[in-house]
């Protein structure tokens, strides 16, 4: 995993998200989800390209069911963009890099 991707858990999530100066794109994923694996390298690229502008975090839903429930995640991959600690935009389902960047651009 790219250095720039943060692993978030039920216990670290609030601190990490609220304490972040940059927007955080959070990826809800699991080991058994094919489309999640497909977008993993795309998210790594986005994280590496956007250092200083955007952070990328990952939440394994198997291990952090509380967060999945709290944000009503019912399908993975789900990406939620947080700004100033608040969810701003939700992307459900795997997408290509161009499409993802287009969707989050307005929030950066």
């Amino acid at each position: 995993m790219a250095q720039s991707i943060v692993t978030l858990t039920d216990s670290t999530f609030d601190e990490e998200i609220k304490g972040s100066d940059e927007p955080v794109l959070v990826d809800f994923w699991a080991e058994w989800c094919g489309p999640c694996k497909m977008i993993a390298p795309v998210l790594e690229e986005i994280a590496d390209d956007s250092v200083g502008k955007l952070r990328v975090g990952k939440i394994n839903v198997d291990e952090n069911l509380e967060l999945a429930r709290r944000f009503e995640v019912m399908s993975i991959p789900t990406l939620i963009l947080f700004k100033d600690g608040e969810p701003q935009h939700r992307i459900i389902g795997a997408k290509g890099k161009g499409q993802l960047l287009q969707e989050i651009e307005a929030f950066l």
Binding site: G34, K37, M38, I92
Partner: protein
Amino acid sequence: MDDVREVIIIGSGPAGLTAAIYTARANLRPLIIEGEPSSTSDQPGGQLMLTTDVENYPGFVEGIMGPDLMGRFRAQAERFGAEYLTEKATRVDFSEHPLRVWTGHPSGGETEHRAHAVIVATGARALMLGLEAENHLLGHGVSTCATCDGFFFRGQHIAVVGGGDSALEEATFLTKFAESVTIIHRRKELRASKIMQDRAFKNPKIRFLWDSVVTDIEGEGKVEGIKVKNILSGEETAVPVTGLFVAIGHVPNTDLFRDQLELGANGYLHTRDGSSYTDVEGVFACGDAQDHVYRQAITAAGTGCMAAIDAERWLEARGEAPSDIAETSTNW
């Protein structure tokens, strides 16, 4: 010309990747336009990326996970020099040679690729119900990917629409999580294979609603129930489920070729009997994009192999194939 390739393959399921293995081994340096990540079957690797155990692909005694199988196909073609482009083909022009294919992102510009031969392996995609509510509840209880989303329906009552192998496979898989799975099918008999039927009938968590169709999905922000109509009696009943999985069949991904290639019944590409030849010189079709009868991973792989051999022989006859082709072509 240097920038005209021998072969471009559009699609990266079992058909496209088998064509890639064969054309790469024949030194034709194929470029595979493999598609973009997606949560539908329209993604690199194709329909098997959304399945779990594949039990009928020969050679895997204990079965293999769909995504693992496709990973192996891809790596095998790569070993022989296949190149991949993780983009979607947006446009083609087969009206003159060299043939042209464009790729690109909706946001950015398009890139033109040229080749002497094109192998079309774009496969098929799952049909949706076409209900208004379906779109805004997709990902909020309506799902096209049981393997991705089943986990979120632990202890809940859910429904699967359809009567084929994929419907029964999804339903059986979903019983690992759900309290109950109701299969809604428009007929009284299932199209699914005997083994899948036996498994479903034996599963105490699965029940069937026959001769029925889903007419509406209820809920704001999440699925709270569906309306099911019996097509014989016309009676409509509310079924309280929190999840709806749709598996009602497939349509070929051939929109891209509508004005370029001859399409047969239901939009499937037309190929000359016993071959992969389309009606355009140098364009070959394989896999589910041209097969409305068998639609198996193994038949897709088989026709992918046919397309590779047809393309190689066609190139050879035109004198476009690399000079060492005579030597490599005996190594099938």
